[in-house]
Every structure is written in structure tokens, then in C-alpha cells.
């Protein structure tokens, strides 16, 4: 697992504590780490370069705020800069005053257009709209059928055309719009075939569609795993069509999603939604703050908390969050947290979100699938064999207590020692986090927002 940027920077600045200013010298090593983190996240080379310049300018000579370490200060500057680029709020969809509004979905092959079309339709229905979908992908085998199947699943109407009649994209689109008008549908979602930005013929087809439909939104659907090429494709789609927004798909994986920054930089258009799974309800508004911490490799703590919230009851989640912040993190909490983690599903995906679990996470990552479960069971057994007193204060667990615990849990003293070591390390890590990235000291903005803030649906 990546050492997260906060940890790296902490290391870089370790010897610089007490210095009141960020200087060219103490900044250099830090900037290097940040640069690597951004490039590893697939942010485009040029975009990174620009970013480094502006971060440097902003940072130089800045007084380190009383409560911040230099590393925290730098992270804050970078973070603010990224937030500034990505925009600080979620954008809404623009709809035409005269229905039907047309939303055109465009992008490279396999980026997720068809799935996102269905997701967006469902989203619109929830908002009280009456969408109609149409696929004008007459090229990929069974592409239109794919949308038809999805439409049936989500029970939203689709215009399928007249069999044996024309299958030209423009004619299909025209007929679909007519259908939308006649059946009193207020939004027409047009799924198009994936195409390369350098395919001149197919790109002009999109331009013709745009001319015909006068869409109120042209959404560029991009895969979160996209690398450096994102700037080229996004740039070309934007030049040809004037895209009005971006949907970033496959964010349920572990891609850091730096392409979001690249795309936003070259097009200037806002990211509007993210796709977080294959099912049609795995669709969310874009949250710049989450994207930023993910790009920086800080772990998607916010998404984790949200997931936790969905699975665990609200009270428990709040309690866990408070403890995380207040550093009252006992062995008991440690055990509960592990148990909860297990309830949440595949461990790997969770660990991806919380590098902050620190050494323990790293260890667990090394162990595979079922072994991981075993390891967890072992840890839980060990903690279960402790007395409540021991659980709330690990300092009292001496040699003879360790032997007793090992006996009681059917493990070895070595296992118990390991666990205690992992726990103290995890605790230390938490302390650093709560005093650092997520800490209260970090100014209002960096504080873990209250859980209510996550409710956007």
C-alpha cells in the first residue's frame, strides 16, 4: 500500500520542527513528495508542473500557523489548491426552459456511457423528472440492446426505433425527440457510441447530433482509471463539442482518479457525477473534497465514514468518529472496529479507503482472502480473552497476563505481543491523524464534518 502523503511529509519535515517559516530549502523535499503523489495518481505531467509552481509561490515565506506543523501547512496549501481547481461545490444539471431538455452522453469506448445514461435517468426520476432514453450507438454489437435491458430493469421508457427502419444516429435522435414531445417527457437522454477523439468522422457525427438536438448538457463520461491521455481526449471532445460537464466512472475501484484534475484543467468544465458501481443506483454527485483526499492518497476516509454509516447505526458511527478524533481508542474499540469492518464487506476494498489504519492494514493486506479472515478471528479472540480492565488500558498487560491471554484465546504469546504492537502503532497513527489531517486544530475546513454533512440525497 502507498505510504500516504501525510506520512511522507511528516517524515520530510521531521527535522524541521520549530522553524517558523516555509523556506525554499525545507519546501523542496516536500514538493518532491507531492509531485510524486500527484503523478502516481495519474494527474497529467503539465498539470502537476503548474500546480507545483503555484503551491511553491503560495507557500514561500508563509508563516507557519501556530497550531500547524510545516507538513500540515504544506498539505493544506496543496489541498486548497486542488479544491480550488476542482471547484468547491457540486454542480447541478442545467435543463432547458422549454422541454424536452436533451442530455448528450459522450466519451471514449468502454468509459461507461450506457450505464451512466441509465443511472442518470434513475437519478432524474428521483428528482421528479420524466426522462426518456435513446441509444444512438448503432456500431457496437448489442449496444442498443444493452440500454434496452437497463431501461426495462429500471422501468424508465426508452425509444427503441422502428425495427427494419432507419438506424442512422441522427434519425434515431430526431425520432426520439419527437417521441419525447408526444409522450410529454421532459428530459431526453441520448447514449452515443464510444469513439476515439481522433476519429474525425465519428467526432463530426457528434457535432451533427449537437446541432440537431441543441442539448442543454453534453456530459463527457470518463473512466477514473484513465492515465495521462485524459488531457488529449478531453481536450478534443471539448474543442469539438463544448462539453458542459464530466461524469467520472468506476470510482468504486482503487484508482486515485487524478484524471479528474487533468480533465477539469483542460476543459474548465465541472465534474458533476461519479459512478461507484455497475448497478444503476451506484451513482453520486461529485464531491471535490473527497476526490482531493483520494488523489493525494489520503484514503477516502469520508466515503468510508459514509459506508460505515449505512451499515452501522448512526450512534455507533458517531461514537467511533469521536473516539478517532479524541484518541480514546482502546483495545475494545479496536476489536469493535475490526468486527464492524468485517460486516462492511470485502476487507481489501475497505483497507484501500483507510491507509490510516496504518501498520495493521498493511499487514492485513499482505495476507490473502481467507487467511485474512482467520487473522481477524485470531485478533478478535485475543482481545476477547482480555479482562475489561486490560482492554481499556493496554499498559497493564504484563508478561503473565500475556501468557494467560494466549492460553485463553488458543494463541501464542508471540501472537499477543504482535497484536499489542499493532494496536499501539495503529493508535499512534490515529493520534497523528487526529492531530493532523483530520484534526480539530486544522481549521474549520479540515475538520471531519459532522455526519449530517454527508447527506446529499
Amino acid at each position: 500500500m502507498f505510504e500516504n502523503l501525510a506520512e511522507k511529509l511528516q517524515r520530510v519535515f521531521k527535522n524541521l520542527r520549530g522553524e517558523g517559516k516555509l523556506t525554499a530549502e525545507n519546501m523542496e523535499a516536500a514538493l518532491k513528495e507531492i509531485r510524486v503523489a500527484l503523478l502516481e495518481a495519474d494527474v497529467h505531467f503539465r498539470v502537476v508542473k503548474q500546480l507545483m509552481e503555484s503551491v511553491k509561490q503560495k507557500a514561500l515565506g508563509q508563516e507557519v500557523l501556530g497550531s500547524l506543523s510545516p507538513s500540515q501547512q504544506v498539505v493544506k496549501i496543496v489541498r486548497d489548491e486542488l479544491l480550488h481547481i476542482l471547484g468547491s461545490h457540486t454542480s447541478r444539471l442545467r435543463l432547458a426552459s422549454e422541454p424536452p431538455s436533451v442530455i448528450l452522453m459522450v466519451g471514449l469506448q468502454g468509459s461507461g456511457k450506457t450505464t451512466s445514461t441509465a443511472k442518470l435517468a434513475k437519478f432524474l426520476v428521483k428528482q421528479g423528472h420524466r426522462p426518456l432514453m435513446v441509444s444512438v450507438d448503432v456500431y457496437r454489437p448489442a449496444a442498443r440492446q444493452q440500454l434496452a435491458v437497463l431501461a426495462r430493469d429500471i422501468q424508465i421508457p426508452i425509444y427503441e426505433g422502428v425495427p427494419q427502419e432507419s438506424d442512422k444516429p441522427l434519425e434515431l435522435a430526431r425520432a426520439a425527440r419527437r417521441e419525447a414531445l408526444q409522450s410529454n417527457r421532459d428530459v431526453l437522454l441520448v447514449d452515443t457510441a464510444g469513439r476515439l477523439h481522433i476519429d474525425d468522422e465519428l467526432m463530426s457525427e457528434l457535432q451533427q447530433l449537437k446541432e440537431l438536438l441543441n442539448p442543454s448538457e453534453i456530459l463527457f463520461v470518463a473512466d477514473a482509471m484513465t492515465g495521462q491521455d485524459a488531457v488529449k481526449s478531453a481536450d478534443e471532445f471539448h474543442k469539438r463539442l463544448g462539453i458542459t460537464g464530466v461524469i467520472l466512472t468506476k470510482m468504486d475501484g482503487d484508482a486515485r482518479g487524478g484524471a479528474a484534475l487533468s480533465i477539469r484543467t483542460v476543459t474548465g468544465q465541472p465534474l458533476k457525477f461519479v459512478g461507484v458501481g455497475e448497478r444503476t443506483d451506484a451513482f453520486e454527485p461529485f464531491h471535490p473534497d473527497r476526490a482531493v483526499s483520494r488523489i493525494l492518497g489520503m484514503g477516502d476516509v469520508l466515503s468510508l465514514i459514509e459506508k460505515v454509516e449505512q451499515t452501522i447505526d448512526q450512534k455507533k458511527a458517531e461514537e467511533m468518529q469521536r473516539k478517532l478524533l479524541d484518541n480514546e481508542f482502546t483495545l475494545e474499540d479496536f476489536r469493535d472496529q475490526l468486527k464492524q469492518l468485517r460486516k462492511l464487506g470485502p476487507l481489501e476494498s475497505l483497507l484501500g479507503m483507510i491507509p490510516q489504519l496504518g501498520p495493521l492494514a498493511k499487514e492485513l493486506k499482505k495476507i490473502k482472502g481467507t487467511d485474512q479472515e482467520k487473522e481477524l478471528t485470531k485478533i478478535v479472540a485475543i482481545i476477547d480473552s482480555m479482562t475489561p480492565k486490560e482492554r481499556s488500558n493496554h499498559m497493564i498487560i504484563n508478561g503473565s497476563r500475556r501468557r494467560r491471554i494466549a492460553m485463553g484465546s488458543g494463541t501464542t504469546v508471540q501472537d499477543v505481543n504482535n497484536l499489542l504492537k499493532q494496536y499501539t502503532q495503529a493508535r499512534l497513527m490515529m493520534k497523528q491523524i487526529s492531530g493532523g489531517m483530520l484534526g480539530k486544530k486544522f481549521g474549520g475546513k479540515m475538520k471531519l464534518p459532522s455526519l449530517d454533512a454527508f447527506k446529499f440525497r
Binding site: V36, E40, Q145, L150, I198, S233, S349, G369
Partner: protein, 318 residues
């Protein structure tokens, strides 16, 4: 000459080379080598030049670490005065990258008894189904019998998509209904292929992100099923990787290799402007060979991978 799972087949090489060239160049009109530019402008090797080099490597998605290592090795030679001429740097780097790719080349396993089972895996939308169509076409052209197994039972109309490829290539498709157990479809397909001594079974699987443990376990189960019906199967497990993928490609390769024993990579969508440089990191770290490249959406657009050509294309600007 192209080596298939049943041994070598002679193929019209010039033709192949032509297509490769077209595939790679079709879209890169008027290419000027960035590196050439960089090198012709200057004679001295300085920090600027090294940054130019880094630019070329990183924007090709080779990754910042791999790029740094490559450049560092060059820098050391420069420092030791082993390289005097800036133009030598280019060939040094090229050579280095070619060696990395060659070192990971492994021959396709030989299958003596049909069916040879090729399983195709990868993340969502990478190009698996299309690649299968192209592979079927290729094997058919070698005079082999081919059966396609529609084991993507999850995605909407995935089965129908594969069926179209079956029609296009004259390959039979074994399918069940959407939502059925992929291992069950696989079992059917293999039984049928075995009984009828079909040469190739190519298995389409649902796209899945490598972070989803349950879906990766499903793949493991499929490999076990394959082995039970056909000893030694799957003989080849191809990971399909989209050339536009950035550094996540390495994670994909790691996880798919762990769970389903990937034996080779197919790099698709090289007809765009993306370079697919992450395969260099994959070759270095995982020793996985790149078997084919995809250069379009038609049956002919699948070409054997050639390290030299690939490395050359990394430095072409488009």
C-alpha cells in the same frame, strides 16, 4: 511467424507488419519525435534534457518511479562520461525498455489435446469481448474450430454482444440466460467442446474491478471448474488492459494474476493516442508477457505484440 497454442502457424508476415504499422500510425499523422526534437536542439546533456526525457516517459504512462529509474541509470552513465552524445541517450533508453519487455516474454504454452482453453479477464470496458471476437477470427483463419463461452452473465446484453461476434466469425457460442452462474456456463461449454474435440474455447468473463474480492473469487472458481473438466485448463489467461489506463493498470495486473493466474496481456485501444506505457512497469514487476495489441474495433485489428515497435511508438507524439 506466430506461435499459437497448438504450435506455430505461418502467416503472411509482411501483411501483418503492414497492418501493425497502419494500426499504430493510422492515427498519428505527422508524428515528430519529441525526443528527437529534444535531442536535435541540444548537444549537451543537461537538466532540461533530462526533464524532456522524463516528460516523454511519464506522459506515456510509464509511471514516475519507473521513469525515474530509467533516467537515473542514464544519468549515471552520463556522470561517468560513458555517454558523450545526447543522441546516444535515446537509444540507451529505447534499448533498456526493449530489454525489459523482452525479458518478460514467455512462449505460449503448448496444448497437445484439444480443447485449448483461453480465458479472458479484465476490468469493466477494457475490451474483452471485442478481443475475443478478434481472437476467434484469428484462430478460425488458422483453420481451427472455435467455441465461444458466454460467461459474462452479469452485464446487460453481454451475451447478445458475444453472439454477434460468433456470427461474424463463424464461431459457435455456448450460452445460458443472464444471471446464471458463470461457472455453470463454462462447465457446459467445456463439456461440449471436449466431446466434439473443438480446438479452442474462448471464455468471455464479466468485467470486474480487481478490488472486489467476491468477484475475484468467482474467477478463481471458474479456473477450478475449467481444470476439473479439462486437465491443464485454462491454458492461457489473458488480461485485457485498456491502453488509456494509467498507473492503476499495475494494480489490475497484480490482482488478476493472483486470483486467476494471468499468463499474458492484451493491450487494447492502441489506435488512439494513449501509449499504454504502464505495461513496462507490469513487465518489470510481474514478468508478464504482452501477447497482442488491439488497434481497432474490427476482426482484423488484433496484432502480435512486438517490443521494438511498441517502444518506438512510446516516443511518437501525436
Amino acid at each position: 511467424m506466430f506461435r499459437s497454442l497448438f504450435g506455430s502457424t505461418t502467416e503472411n508476415e509482411p501483411n501483418l507488419l503492414e497492418r501493425l504499422k497502419q494500426g499504430i500510425q493510422k492515427t498519428r499523422a505527422g508524428f515528430v519525435s519529441m525526443l528527437d526534437d529534444a535531442l536535435h536542439g541540444k548537444k549537451v546533456i543537461d537538466a532540461d534534457l533530462l526533464e524532456e526525457l522524463e516528460y516523454s516517459l511519464i506522459t506515456a504512462d510509464i509511471g514516475v518511479r519507473t521513469a525515474s529509474e530509467v533516467i537515473e541509470s542514464v544519468r549515471q552513465r552520463v556522470d561517468r562520461h560513458l555517454v558523450n552524445d545526447a543522441s546516444e541517450i535515446r537509444s540507451l533508453i529505447r534499448q533498456h525498455l526493449i530489454e525489459v519487455l523482452q525479458a518478460s516474454e514467455t512462449p505460449t504454452p503448448l496444448v497437445t489435446e484439444p480443447p485449448a482453453v483461453v480465458m479472458v479477464v479484465g476490468v469493466n470496458g477494457a475490451g474483452k469481448t471485442t478481443t475475443i471476437g478478434k481472437l476467434a477470427h484469428r484462430f478460425k483463419a488458422e483453420g481451427r474450430s472455435v467455441l465461444l463461452c458466454a460467461a459474462d452473465t452479469f452485464r446487460a446484453a453481454a451475451i447478445e454482444q458475444l453472439e454477434v461476434w460468433g456470427q461474424r466469425t463463424g464461431a459457435e457460442v455456448v450460452r445460458q440466460r443472464q444471471g446464471s452462474d458463470p461457472s455453470a456456463v463454462l462447465f457446459d461449454a467445456l463439456q461440449s467442446a471436449k466431446a466434439r474435440r473443438i480446438d479452442y474455447v474462448i471464455v468471455d468473463t464479466a468485467g470486474r474491478l480487481h478490488t472486489k474480492a467476491n468477484l475475484m473469487a468467482e474467477l478463481e472458481k471458474m479456473t477450478r471448474t475449467a481444470k476439473r473438466v479439462v486437465p491443464g485448463a485454462p491454458h492461457e489467461v489473458l488480461l485485457v488492459l485498456d491502453a488509456t489506463t494509467g498507473q492503476n493498470g499495475l494494480e489490475q495486473a497484480k490482482h488478476f494474476t493472483e486470483s486467476s493466474g494471468v499468463t499474458g496481456i492484451v493491450l487494447t485501444k492502441l489506435d488512439g493516442t494513449a501509449k499504454g506505457g504502464v505495461v513496462i512497469a507490469i513487465a518489470r514487476e510481474l514478468n508478464l508477457p504482452i501477447r497482442y495489441i488491439g488497434v481497432g474495433e474490427q476482426v482484423n485489428d488484433l496484432l502480435p505484440f512486438e517490443p521494438e515497435r511498441f517502444v518506438e511508438s512510446l516516443f511518437e507524439t501525436s
